[in-house]
């Protein structure tokens, strides 16, 4: 689900937005702040808390909106100047790396580097785990994970529908094909790209909040480590392919789960090994078709 936001931007603009990882973190922290929880012992804002106490789900939605707004600001400040100059996509990537580093360290500067956990029972009275097994063979699955999976499938379906069936989606695909021609045809490219960034930021922020509710927020670098694995996911699914991003996520999760116990210490390397192999064998992704190199 995290990867969907990446993919959305890549599919339109052909750039990898490293700042997305930072937005993901921001979403988690915004949600944390909006639930009225206090920040810890270090940093500038120690022991402060917002006067409002929103329930988790509302906080997550508002947090995602805020993350989307931040994504818009990033687009205006760090991407548009480069795009207007027609700069190399690699430069945009470097610029987005810079943004990511700034956001992460500003968070650390403001609220310190501790772990934060959301208040207990973020999903109200639902049981913490649901039994999927039969009789004596219990297969408990945590409710949080079901929620995350459900939400990501819904978001994927909505985005796919939006991109392929609506007029706005059609306009966006036209921009992806050729931004100059699209703008000549009367499509407001800048506005639509802003919209893309907003949606991608929202999806990123929401996934930050949800994943934070599953494993707690592990400091400001939480998003970056997730982001690097997210890269593996989108390459696995094929860059710019939204259903592919979900498939990639599932495949990677399974691959990590099947690491034999004696090699469990190498689990963190699996994502990157998969990324490396995919790049060598099938850079177009699992579901993708080979793309012709444009000259």
């Amino acid at each position: 689900m995290f990867a969907v936001g990446y993919t959305l931007i890549f599919s339109i603009l052909r750039i990898i937005n490293f700042a997305h990882a930072a937005i993901f973190t921001l979403g988690a922290y915004f949600t944390y702040a909006l639930t009225g929880s206090a920040f810890g012992y270090n940093g500038l804002l120690k022991n402060s808390a917002l006067p409002i106490h929103l329930p988790f789900l509302l906080a997550a939605v508002v947090g995602a909106m805020l993350a989307g707004l931040v994504a818009i600001v990033i687009e205006r400040l760090a991407f548009r100047p480069l795009r207007n100059r027609g700069a190399d996509p690699l430069l945009s990537l470097v610029s987005s790396l810079g943004v990511a580093v700034v956001i992460v360290n500003v968070i650390q500067y403001l609220v310190g580097a501790e772990n934060y956990s959301y208040p207990a029972q973020p999903y109200g009275n639902l049981p913490t785990a649901i039994n999927f097994g039969l009789g004596s063979q219990r297969i408990p699955v945590r409710t949080v994970q079901i929620v995350i999976f459900g939400v990501s499938v819904v978001i994927m379906l909505l985005l796919t529908y939006w991109l392929n069936r609506t007029k706005t989606g059609k306009a966006l695909r036209a921009i992806a094909e050729d931004a100059t021609t699209a703008s000549l045809l009367g499509i407001n490219t800048d506005q639509l790209i802003l919209l893309t960034f907003f949606l991608s930021g929202m999806v990123g922020g929401l996934s930050g909040a949800l994943i934070g509710s599953s494993v707690s927020i592990a400091g400001p670098y939480f998003g970056i480590s997730f982001g690097l694995r997210g890269l593996a996911v989108i390459v696995l699914g094929g860059l710019g392919d939204i259903p592919g991003a979900i498939v990639g996520g599932v495949v990677l999760g399974l691959a990590e789960a099947f690491v034999p116990v004696q090699y469990i210490a190498y689990k963190d390397a699996v994502a990157f090994a998969v990324l490396f192999l995919m790049l060598l064998l099938r850079p177009q992704g699992l579901l993708g078709r080979a793309e012709l190199q444009k000259v």
Binding site: I16, L44, L77, A78, P81, L82, A87, P89, L90, L91, S92, L93, V94, S95, L97, G98, V99, A100, V101, V102, V104, N105, V106, Y109, I224, L228, L231, A232, V235, L239, A265, Y266, D268, A269, A271, F272, A273, L275, F276, L279, L280, P283, V295
Partner: protein, 334 residues
């Protein structure tokens, strides 16, 4: 002056090392290959030094001890037997050869990829290396290797190795930019297709540029490991890669002077700002920012640099042709 060098010896050495790391990132960039693999080879070099000096060579580093004396200007001097410099050079050779072999093995398949894909592959390489070194016993696991013996009595002593090495590598890159191979690199950077059409072997030159950068990073790793005395998997990470990238891109990615000066200045910048933070009367928040905001600053510089100075601050014709450069711009504006 003596006090200055005794106090800032390690900083000066680290600045020069940073310049060389920036140069190691600059080399693949010369051929248009954006790679973040340098930290990986840097880490590899460090481990080579740490393993050879603590496990292979029978050298008792326990006999070395720190002497701290501020009064008579002796800060962090080592007493006891010193690690032989000849072995340090052997380590540098081993690290260089190992880095070269690994770079070729890695580079041959990875450099078929272009642009973003190569960057992703090198990020993956750095991450895999980090996990592997965290797990293996040979590299000391997550704790790393301690008590790497010191070849020099004071930190400034490293200058005997670092300064000649920096001059050598700078001279090497200076020459490289002017011979056939360097021109081939530039041609590939400007237009891969046109370069191939002119009969330049793309794969050969890309791997060559990548390998040269890797060798330099590996050698720098050896010196760093001795200089900071301990080595673990937190050396040479993704973050470090971004820092080097900032050195190169801010300094200038079109001439070898760019990364060198960028590395030296940007490495020293946080220290200078830390000094500024001590000025009385500054608001607490600002002072804190000046003290701890190193990465915030690098990040901002990366964004501003890519927008306003896409070729970096130091451009090849900064020192000459100033009038010549000014004229075509005016024409362009009309």
């Amino acid at each position: 002056m003596a006090v200055f060098f005794a106090t800032y010896g390690s900083l000066i050495v680290a600045m020069l090392l940073a310049a060389m790391l920036a140069l190691s990132l600059y080399l693949p960039l010369l051929a248009g290959q954006l790679s973040l693999a340098s930290p990986g080879f840097y880490a590899l070099g460090g481990y080579v030094a740490a393993i050879i000096s603590t496990r292979v060579v029978p050298f008792d580093s326990g006999a070395q001890a720190y002497i701290w004396r501020m009064g008579t200007h002796e800060v962090a001097r080592f007493s006891g037997p010193l690690y032989p410099v000849s072995l340090l050079i052997v380590e540098m050779l081993v690290a260089g050869v190992l880095s070269a072999v690994l770079a070729i093995v890695l580079g041959l398949p990875a450099l078929r990829l272009r642009g973003i894909y190569l960057l992703l592959a090198t990020i993956a390489f750095v991450q895999i290396l980090q996990v592997v070194t965290q797990v293996l016993d040979l590299t000391g696991g997550a704790i790393g290797i301690f008590n790497i013996p010191q070849p020099f009595a004071s930190q400034l002593g490293y200058a005997w190795v670092v300064v000649p090495l920096l001059l050598l590598s700078a001279g090497f890159v200076y020459r490289l930019e002017r011979i056939r191979i360097g021109r081939a690199f530039t041609a590939i950077r400007e237009d891969e297709l046109a370069a191939a059409a002119m009969g330049i072997n793309l794969a050969y030159h890309k791997v060559l540029a990548f390998t040269m950068g890797a060798v330099l990073a590996g050698i720098v790793g050896v010196i760093s490991a001795h200089s900071i005395n301990t080595w673990n998997s937190r050396q040479g990470t993704f973050d470090a890669g971004i820092t080097y990238l900032a050195f190169v891109l801010i300094g200038g990615s079109r001439t070898f002077l760019g990364p060198i000066i960028g590395g030296i200045v940007l490495y020293a910048l946080p220290e200078v700002l830390r000094g500024l933070a001590a000025i009385p009367g500054l608001p607490l928040a600002l002072a804190q920012l000046l003290k701890d905001g190193r990465l915030i600053m690098y990040g901002l510089l990366l964004v501003l640099g890519t927008i306003f100075f896409p070729q970096g601050l130091i451009r090849p014709n900064l020192f000459r042709h100033r009038t010549v450069e000014a004229t075509p711009r005016k024409i362009e504006q009309q």
